[in-house]
């Protein structure tokens, strides 16, 4: 009870203390409240800031990684392109090297071949030399020809003059104008006059000789009249053929001409040589000899063992060897040799050869 009493006595103080405490609490409440708010705000601020910091840090990490990644990609790309460019440069360089060699080779070989060019110009100078020489020769020949022509013309003119002045020829009694007695030799004109006054029959001879001389001196002039038949006719002169048919039992001049200048028509018998058969045989034999087959049979190299010739045994008598082709009749050949060969040439029938071609009627009867 005492305790109760103690408590009852203390109640008043307690009440007072209670009120005091209430009052103090009431007095401090605003302050405390604001302090609490401040604390809370600080705390919250801290928390948000930490969060933001956290976010920032994460963002930075993300950015860092991304940037690193993209930069690495870019770098790789750059490396790739750089490498590619380097490679291309290298290839180009190599290509240039190849092209350079090839072009040099090609140009030197085909387009601007120094040696070919040099050779060409050398050849050209030689060609030029020959052309110059030939042209000079040609011009010289032409000049000579012209001179010769001029000389001939002069000669002709002089001859003509000589013909016109035949009366100036010196006679036996009195020397002419050109044959002065005070000179050792007569003038050239005198000789010409003499030539001109020679009888007609002499002239062609002189002409002929001059003709021959010219031919030998010139050497270039080929006369289309061959010389040999001309001399033949000169050796055995036939009587001239008159233009008109002479009176009397003569043939028409055309016919005579035809007879005189008809070509040689030998008969077949005359035309063929007497030894023609022998010649032909000889020819044939030679032909055979030239074209004959090889006696040795051909043996290919590949199967050499198969081509072994059969070797006879020493002790046997039989011969198993094959007889080579065309040797069977060897013995007969010798017998045939004694026989006379068969003549195969016929004599021709002369009647038809000469029929209608004979000059005389009597000749037509064979």
């Amino acid at each position: 009870m005492a305790k109760l009493l103690k408590l009852e006595r203390r109640i008043e103080g307690l009440k007072e203390e209670y009120f005091n405490r209430h009052r103090i609490a009431e007095e401090n409440r605003g302050k405390e409240n604001s302090a609490a708010v401040q604390i809370q705000s600080w705390f919250r601020g801290c928390r948000v800031r930490a969060y933001l910091r956290h976010l920032n840090r994460k963002a930075t990490i993300i950015q860092k990684i991304w940037r690193g990644y993209t930069a690495r990609m870019l770098y790789r790309q750059m490396i790739k392109t750089a490498y590619f460019i380097m490679k291309m440069n290298f290839y180009n360089e190599m290509a240039v090297k190849i092209q350079k060699r090839w072009r040099g080779y090609y140009i030197r070989k085909y387009v601007h071949n120094y040696y070919a060019r040099k050779k060409y110009f050398k050849g050209l100078t030689e060609m030029n030399e020959t052309v110059r020489k030939e042209l000079a020769e040609f011009a010289e020949i032409k000049r000579m020809e012209r001179e010769r022509m001029a000389l001939e013309k002069e000669e002709k003119k002089k001859c003509y003059e000589a013909q016109r002045m035949h009366y100036l020829l010196s006679t036996h009694q009195c020397p002419g104008v050109f044959n002065s007695p005070y000179r050792p030799f007569p003038d050239e004109m005198e000789l010409k006059l003499q030539m001109e006054l020679k009888p007609q029959s002499m002239r062609p001879l002189s002409l002929k000789t001059s003709f021959h001389r010219k031919e030998t001196s010139k050497g270039l002039v080929n006369m289309n009249v061959p010389g040999s038949p001309l001399t033949l006719t000169m050796a055995q002169p036939l009587p001239p053929i008159p233009k008109k048919k002479p009176q009397g039992p003569f043939r028409d001049p055309a016919e005579v001409l035809q007879q005189r200048f008809k070509p040689l028509e030998p008969t077949l018998r005359v035309a063929t040589s007497i030894t023609s058969v022998e010649e032909a045989r000889k020819e044939l034999r030679q032909e055979e000899w030239r074209n004959r087959l090889n006696d040795e049979p051909f043996r290919p190299f590949a199967n050499a063992h198969k081509n072994k010739k059969y070797e006879e045994m020493i002790n046997t008598l039989s011969r198993f060897e094959q007889i080579t082709f065309d040797t069977k009749h060897q013995e007969n050949q010798e017998k045939l040799k004694e026989k006379k060969p068969f003549k195969t040439v016929f004599t021709t029938v002369h009647v038809f050869d000469k029929f209608g071609r004979m000059y005389s009627n009597a000749g037509k009867i064979v």
Partner: protein
């Protein structure tokens, strides 16, 4: 009785006319009478007589007119203007051969004399040519005259030769070329040449008629006048186009033609050279063909053989050949063409030949330094320079010489030949000379040394060039090749500066 008197009158009149015409024809043979006859109005009197009923009178009148027209230009003009030609031409077709012959001769005289310019003549030609072509088909003598007429007709103008071709004359002419008579051949060849010179089409017609083969056969003909015409015809054909030139070449004229360069006749030579020129100018291949046939050597010999205008085609041919490629130009040089051309340049008095030679030199020397050297060694450059500088040389020559100099100088690296040009060249040439020095000297130490000792450097320092010009640049690059002292030593006024230094020098005691 009355009838007889009437007839008598006519007879008298006819006799009088005959006598008149015959006298006139006789008088017309003497040149001293002609003026009197002209003054007496003989033309107008003869004109009606050309259409006289009596053939003898017609004929004699024609003869008299022909003689008159043959005398001089004025009378021929009068014949043309007096409308006499149509009458003649109309009577051509009907008359007998003898008269045609006469008329042909007369026409020939007229054509030979009169001037081609009047348009009346042109129309006349158009009208005449068919008639002439008819005549050409007659045997020799007649066709001779008509050929000459055709030749004259086609000589004058393109239109006229077109008319001749349209009238079908070309095959006839080609036939005439094959005739044995030399005179006829000659005239036919000349007519072909006159026809083909006007245009490629006309030349093509001539070629189509197969003229080239026949012409080519006559190259070695001994007759010089025929050869002249043949070569002129061939050159006229080949001048137009590459194809025609190739056709001519394909007739295998080549080694044979060269022999004609040695012909005694000047005109044959000239025409041959013209032919070669016309062929060579088309393509490098054709030039190469000529070169390979030894044509260049022959042409050079030919240039050496003759003088004056005969040389001209040869010179031009060399120029054309050299212009095509450097190999061909080298071929000309190798064939010793340069000394021969140099002789031409000094020998020839006439400007146009000199101009052609200068041009040829330009063509030869413009390819490579080697070519330019070959030209420079022949001592051509000073001559070209003097031709360019001379006041009395023609403008064409000056232009050609300048071009040639320029093209040779731009390639020339042969400094000894360039040295003399330094001293007497005009500024526009000097530029190229100095340019060549500036290109060569940096790479050649011997040449640098020689350049100083020969006084070239001194000359260079004396040149007054505008700053910034090409010449100044060249001079600078030359100066850069030498040490500064030498350049200063050779620059003008150096002695004064030295003396000044002597004056200013303080002697050391």
């Amino acid at each position: 009785m009355k009838e007889e008197t009437v007839i008598c009158v006519f007879e008298q009149y006819q006799k009088a006319r005959t006598q008149f015409v015959q006298t006139i024809a006789e008088l017309a043979t003497r040149p001293q009478n002609i003026e009197t006859l002209q003054n007496a109005g003989v033309m107008s009197l003869l004109r009606p007589l050309l259409l006289d009923v009596v053939p003898t009178i017609q004929q004699t009148a024609a003869l008299a007119l022909g003689r008159l027209a043959n005398y001089n230009d004025d009378l021929a003009e009068a014949v043309v203007k007096g409308d006499i030609l149509p009458q003649l031409v109309y009577s051509l077709a009907e008359q007998n051969r003898f008269k045609q012959l006469l008329l042909g001769a007369q026409l020939r005289a007229v054509w030979a004399q009169h001037l081609p310019s009047s348009c009346q003549t042109g129309q006349m030609g158009l009208r005449i040519s068919p008639g002439l072509v008819c005549l050409a088909s007659y045997p020799f003598g007649l066709s001779d005259h008509s050929m000459v007429n055709l030749s004259y007709v086609s000589y004058h103008a393109f239109k006229l030769s077109q008319a001749v071709v349209d009238a079908g004359a070309v095959p006839l002419l080609v036939l005439c070329v094959q005739e044995p008579e030399v005179a006829l051949k000659r005239i036919a060849a000349s007519a072909l040449s006159d026809i083909s010179k006007h245009s490629p089409e006309l030349a093509q017609t001539v070629v189509d008629a197969g003229a080239i083969a026949h012409l080519a056969q006559m190259i070695l003909n001994p007759d010089a006048k025929l050869k002249r015409q043949v070569f002129s015809a061939l050159s006229q054909i080949s001048k137009h186009s590459v194809d025609l030139a190739e056709m001519v070449v394909e007739a295998e004229i080549f080694p044979a033609v060269l022999t004609c360069l040695k012909d005694p006749d000047e005109y044959v030579k000239k025409n041959v050279a013209t032919l070669m020129r016309e062929i060579a100018k088309h393509t490098p291949e054709l030039s190469q063909l000529i070169v390979n046939a030894g044509g260049v050597a022959a042409a050079i010999d030919y240039i050496g053989d003759c003088l004056g205008s005969v040389r001209l085609p040869g010179i031009m041919m060399l120029g054309y050949v050299a212009a095509h490629s450097e190999n061909l130009a080298m071929a000309v040089i190798v064939s010793k063409g340069v000394p021969q051309l140099a002789i031409c340049l000094t020998e020839e008095p006439e400007d146009h030949i000199k101009a052609a030679t200068a041009w040829a030199f330009g063509q030869i020397g413009r390819h490579t330094p080697e070519h330019a050297r070959a030209v420079a060694v022949a001592n051509v450059l000073p001559k070209l320079l003097s031709l360019y500088m001379e006041t009395d040389s023609s403008e064409d020559l000056q232009v050609k010489a300048k071009k040639a100099l320029k093209s040779i100088l731009q390639k020339c690296t042969h400094l000894p030949a360039l040295e003399p040009l330094l001293h007497d060249a005009s500024p526009n040439i000097l530029k190229h000379v100095v340019g060549q020095f500036s290109k060569v000297l940096p790479h050649d130490s011997k040449a640098r040394r020689l350049f100083v000792t020969s006084g070239g450097l001194k000359k260079i320092q004396e040149i007054k060039a505008e700053p910034g010009s090409a010449l100044q640049e060249y001079i600078n690059s030359i100066n850069n090749c030498y040490p500064e002292e030498i350049v200063r030593y050779y620059s003008p006024g150096y002695s004064e500066t030295l003396l000044e230094r002597v004056e200013n020098y303080q002697p050391v005691m």
